[in-house]
């Protein structure tokens, strides 16, 4: 059970290889990686800055992870989320869940990212050719969260 909130870039592959290793009871690992896109709603994105609420962010991510572990029999969970400025193509977030069976791993991973999207205090600010703009919350993210209520 690990939560990391960091400004530094991370290598999703290296994290996932470590996550998969060392426990032969794990039969399935499900992961999701969110990356900075170079386009958003038809506009070019040159860079993105993620603002967050230090302290509350960690607290919320730990709550989300604890909730996933209450709901599914998980051997391991991992959440890494960056803040600060990043460029298109860079990973923003990695969530991973490991279980003896794939159903639990997949559902827990989907739950983690859906729940994180709507409750971890992060705010995206994009820079593009017309200057900067704050990204609006999406109704589809709220809908994805409600699947788990």
């Amino acid at each position: 059970m690990t939560v990391r909130v960091q400004e530094a870039p991370f290598d999703p592959g290296a994290e996932i290889s470590a996550f998969c290793s060392g426990d032969p009871g794990i039969g399935g690992v499900s992961t999701f990686i969110g990356l900075v896109r170079d386009m958003h709603e038809g506009a070019r994105v040159d860079a993105m800055t993620l603002e967050h609420y230090p302290g509350m962010t960690e607290r919320k991510l730990e709550e989300i992870e604890a909730e996933a572990r209450r709901r599914w029999p998980l051997d391991r969970t991992l959440v890494i989320h960056r803040f600060g400025r990043m460029l298109p193509g860079e990973p923003i977030v990695l969530v991973a869940a490991a279980s003896a069976h794939r159903g639990a791993a997949i559902d827990a991973c989907t739950f983690l990212i859906d729940w994180l999207k709507t409750s971890a205090p992060f705010w995206k600010h994009e820079e593009g050719p017309d200057g900067g703009r704050w990204v609006d919350a999406r109704e589809s993210d709220e809908q994805a969260r409600r699947r788990w209520l």
């Binding site: 969110g34 967050h52 989320h81 977030v93 999207k117 971890a120 995206k124 704050w134 609006d136 993210d141």
Partner: protein, 83 residues
Amino acid sequence: MKIRYFAWLRQRTGCSQEEVDPPPDVTTVAALMEWVGRRHPRFAEACAAKGVVRCAINQEYVERDATVAASDEVAFFPPVTGG
């Protein structure tokens, strides 16, 4: 009382956090938002739009009717957009 502002609400108040001492009748989030709106007119504009200003007390999400105390850390921010 410590108030923190995030994202574009921070840009509207012009500060990321401030120590304030609201009058004793400011006991709820709703009342605090009104009071803060008088200090920062552009914050009041944002509050007029429904569902746009979210609040946390001591790093837990709360609704408008939650009670605020002088020792609290209160935060105002727009809906979150991480992940």
